[in-house]
Symmetry: D2
Subunit: 337 residues, 4 copies
């Protein structure tokens, strides 16, 4: 940590901050600059120390040096993590594809669709039983009945089930039916939920909050990892910006950046990331080219009659095309799909 | 709702969409433009309808017409709501001030501070017992012990207690000690929590999510209102933008805009909204001038030794100055403080 | 400047960077941390040095310490600057108000309007003769003819003329008629224009770019100041964010922050900052309460028939109300208006 | 255009707006909704009409229907445009690569580098002679001397020269030496410059402004096209968001979206788009996979000693690797490179 003193900071203020640093268990080293004094605080940089030093008299700003996350860091664990869940493997040479409807609607629908997706190369089945909806008047999902439909589809196809859990008290129930617990973007900083998912030991697919920085994203993963659950997948699903021609802005540089900073596998969601079905396939190709370990996409037999997210949903025929194109890109980056 | 067809949409596509609109219980009215056809869908606009129509063949885009919220709307209820909680009144002529430390640290601290704040004109005491922290390694609050300290401060001073609740399963416990349940920015779309707070009937202070639109903010309030809990205060606490000289960007135009669209009272948090103690007083003045019904500010006897948020915390002396200045602004807008 | 080395940087890499710092005329000071080494570079921090050191092998990141602007800095000049132009004074105790239409439309209109504005307390007249328009098909202004109309209004009322200059080659012409050269948000980083305005010696009203950081804003001012033109006013006019209920997001914390970092006066534009006429008066009050030295607002006799920006324009009656309300706020912050 | 009236708009207000629409040369069609009346304005939608109708009494909002750009639109011209400039072809089957240093530093450097780049497959040479710099104290480029160095490199290698022009008065001079005039992000809405480049007839590479919407970007192109210069390339170079781990956020969905809306070719700049040399190659791959027609990348023999932008610059060895990888992606999307 580097404490930058104001250009008119007094000797007494500098001394006071140095003493404060010592009282925090760190070693201060004062560096006299041409215009300003800076004080390096040597030792283990703990979260929250910045806040403690910033209000000091004569302090201009405090610059953290170390990354705030630990277990998620590639410095702690150099080899890449592979998360495995009922045949779904994310983080290896093969790029995984998780596909399915936004919401589970009825058993026949989900089973039939799952069969097609399996045949076209998907290894995971997505589908919402608990649906976080912006409006209380929107369809909120079939809940446990929906989970049972997913379980049937799993039994019929062998696909791993990826589904969202919205509250700590549902973690046990969802874990019974699902292979991967998805934590939605709105809940990325719902810490009780992160801890409950951590405690469950179940593989987790953690979506990036729509305005989360990469550090905040990795710290959210840290909440799960810190409960001794190493099975975390990071999912880039687009961020909120001023752009209005897409639902969100999908920043694919996150993929190689996260691979550099973390050992955790990275999933990309081009459906939410764009909000427009016509953009899903090109952005899937781009995600694979950027190095994504998996894709998660919304597919529905009849997007026009889907109960939610129709505008960003592709058909099985569109999915086939997407898979064909992404397979070629995967080969071009020495991977399979 | 207005469905805009592409310029090359066929007659069959237009007919198909019109039929789809009819099947949704709305009445289609086709308008032949110079370049494009648009179809107005007349009737009750339900959330989710946009999504249903957007994927249709030949559709360019769908434009919603009606506001998606109802109970929060000033169209439904013209007179302004006043939320009352143990002496705290928000929404009336008097501007309320809720002050206190970021975290409750110990009983003596909170009781002494509460006495000073009361004397200086605060009507509510804020203080975190459950603390949502970005890092799992940061202090997470004293939990129930903290709530008890707040209860003591309340008994000693009569100040209304405003404190955060982070999970549905804590709503009962927090309700026992607190007068107002605060829902934090990170939890603005934690729907289980919103519903639990709604069911409690307790006054709620709902913070705007850091990248929530105003519509999303009002829809989150709608989740509480829809549980027959009318006691909702909306709190603008800053949004995430590219600006880096402040912690968040505090957009005060939200205050008059919310007053126009909704009957709910509006609170402003200049501490989180700026992240810098030196900016708290000028932005408090500005908030009052913009029409805020209440302020919520972080105050600590010794910000340099606060366990959290020191950089944006003012001292009781600073608070006195803030109150003096805001009182003058309040008078200039025909209110009191 | 602080160069943070990667945790696995080798001794040779550290030595290499230290030598590179020396070759740049700075003195390196190596600080051995627990996990990482950082190197402080002591001496005059020049813009561009960060870029030079960042690509070095073993470098994690480079943290600048000093503010990149000089002449605009309150460290260089402690007393606040007052910009004077034909009766308009910005930066003193009296808050100035610059008002007028978006575009100058015809002579009678502008002269009549100017008379009313003068009577209601305005000290400057705004009005566009050269109009930067997003679309090439929109009205682009009356150009020199418009300037002449402004000159007539000035002769009739004594109001100082504030009008935009869009290109270096127009600076002389606009200077002939105007008292203050306005540089629009789109041109904040049009360096040729900034230099030409600097060379003219004329008072300048520099609008913040719609995605400019405060540092970039002050560096743009620096381009003018560096040409020995000290007459610069900084104008906050709203930034582009994800918010969609207002045209831009108006971040008033810029006002006290700029006052802390710079000696230059700060103007606020609530018309562009909100894009909605109904929000202009409350945000004007808030701007004055936050400490603004001047307001610049769009006023038109008949906003519905204004050739541009009608939606954010108020009428003379609305302007009167705004002035009355702002005068009271001005008094509450010990200023006049 | 659709004018949405407020729910409490009076019959007189509705009539007044309908008459106003007629007076604008459009045909009003009133649609009586359940809660609100909307009025469709049928006819040619001109820019600026929204502004004219929005301030009307009883108007809630105005929704534009038609795209504001014309010549750039794929509706006007269905076949994709190919821009050709001295051997550089952008928009055809072969993906073009424009490479070179941020700034032209000296003749030997640029000629040697150009030879290597040519050999590795580049078809264009980039290099700044006029440099727009955030700070007036940074290196501003060698100006005409720099252009001459570029001309020498062109004579030696046959590479097309792509270089920035910053002011209308330099267009002639830069046109003498360069094959493509680059308009930088900061100047995307410098309309005088756009018109001058339009009038020159020279191929233009227009960079997206760092907070420009796609509509604004296409309208900027429209300024050039409207001067009968059809040779415009659109360049996505990243937008400003809250993300802080990259210099800008590079939204690749712009590529397929622009291809859908416009016939103009799309270039991607992964150097500015990320600001980090390590992210340039993965994002180049992603850009090609997303459908980019060309890449523009910063390459320097010794990034550590580059006078500008070193942190985002790759070496010729890195460039070779990038080319090898992108060539494979190009084949996977049935193109060459």
């Amino acid at each position: 940590m580097i404490v930058v003193m104001k250009s008119d900071a007094t000797a007494a203020q500098i001394e006071h901050i140095a003493a404060h640093i010592t009282s925090l268990g760190l070693k201060p080293q004062v560096i006299q600059g041409t215009h300003q004094t800076v004080i390096a605080a040597i030792g283990e940089e703990r979260p929250g120390l910045t806040e403690v030093l910033e209000p000091g008299d004569g302090v201009e700003k405090v610059l953290p040096i170390m990354a705030p996350y630990k277990r998620a860091s590639s410095e702690l664990k150099r080899e890449r993590s592979v998360v495995k869940a009922h045949g779904l493997e994310v983080g290896g040479k093969r790029i995984a594809v998780i596909a399915g409807p936004c919401s589970v609607e009825d058993e026949e629908q989900i089973v039939n669709l799952a069969r097609k997706l399996k045949e076209l190369g998907a290894t995971g089945l997505r589908g919402g039983a608990f649906k976080p909806r912006t409006s209380p008047y929107s369809f909120q999902g079939h809940k446990e009945a929906g989970l049972k439909m997913l379980a049937t589809a799993r039994a019929e196809t062998g696909l791993a089930i990826v589904t969202e859990v919205m509250a700590p008290e549902h973690v046990d129930m969802v874990s019974e039916y699902a292979d991967v617990l998805q934590i939605g973007a709105r809940n990325m900083q719902n810490y009780q939920l992160l801890q409950a998912v951590g405690d469950s030991g179940k593989p987790a697919l953690l979506k990036r909050g729509m305005s989360a920085t990469v550090d905040e994203f990795l710290l959210a993963a840290e909440y799960i990892l810190d409960r001794n659950n190493p099975n975390v997948m990071l999912c880039e699903r687009g961020i909120r910006t001023y752009e209005d021609h897409t639902r969100f802005t999908l920043p694919l540089a996150t993929v190689p950046y996260l691979h550099e900073k973390s050992h955790l596998p990275v999933v990309v969601d081009p459906s939410h990331g764009t909000g427009k079905s016509r953009l899903v396939t090109p952005m899937s190709r781009a995600a694979v080219a950027a190095g994504a370990d998996a894709l998660i996409v919304e597919v529905h037999d009849d997007p026009e009659h889907a109960v939610s997210d129709g505008a960003q949903t592709i058909t099985p025929a569109g999915f086939k095309e997407m898979m064909d194109q992404c397979r070629r890109i995967a080969e071009a980056v020495d991977r399979t799909l």
